[in-house]
Symmetry: C2
Subunit: 115 residues, 2 copies
Amino acid sequence: MKRKDKRSICPLSCTLDLLGDKWTLLVIRDLFAGKSHFKEFLESPERIATNILTDRLNHLLGHELVERRPSTRIPGRRAYRLTHKGESLRPVLQAIADWGLAHIAGTKMHIQPQR
Amino acid sequence: MKRKDKRSICPLSCTLDLLGDKWTLLVIRDLFAGKSHFKEFLESPERIATNILTDRLNHLLGHELVERRPSTRIPGRRAYRLTHKGESLRPVLQAIADWGLAHIAGTKMHIQPQR
């Protein structure tokens, strides 16, 4: 990604410009957990709103982190999955989740990545 | 941290509630890089606004990720530094920065952690 409005060459800052939104990372989490259909993302406990979900999926599609195909499970529906680039975010999500498990009381790893 | 309004027990989601703001993580980055004074954070290339910086430092102090002491360098000023809990975020920042270096054109590791 090349951004004209990039204010910094810092890889942390640039990655946060791309992904530093809670909902974006939660959708990626759900994709890692095997969710693929629009309705499945809506069922996550954080209760993402439909307009935010649409926006974040389009954002992820635009940055080639996610790809969309006709669903093989539900005729007429579309299914989303991580691209290789999207899957490369696994260590990022793992590091964030590991920190939460160690430092935030009451957290528990309830979604097991399927891949 | 125990939050009454926690909607999820997911450690990723809860960590993002705490840290999932770009500016919060950039201030933590600057602390890792050895910055400690209010003015030094303002000088970073992303140009954080003073009111946002004040808010994020108070947020980090409130969650015991940062501590504030009288400056030993500039009389009358205060200096900030990461607590042990704050320093435990190093793998999170490293994972995000590593991803950016690998996937976002034009990024470069220009701030070297001093500790």
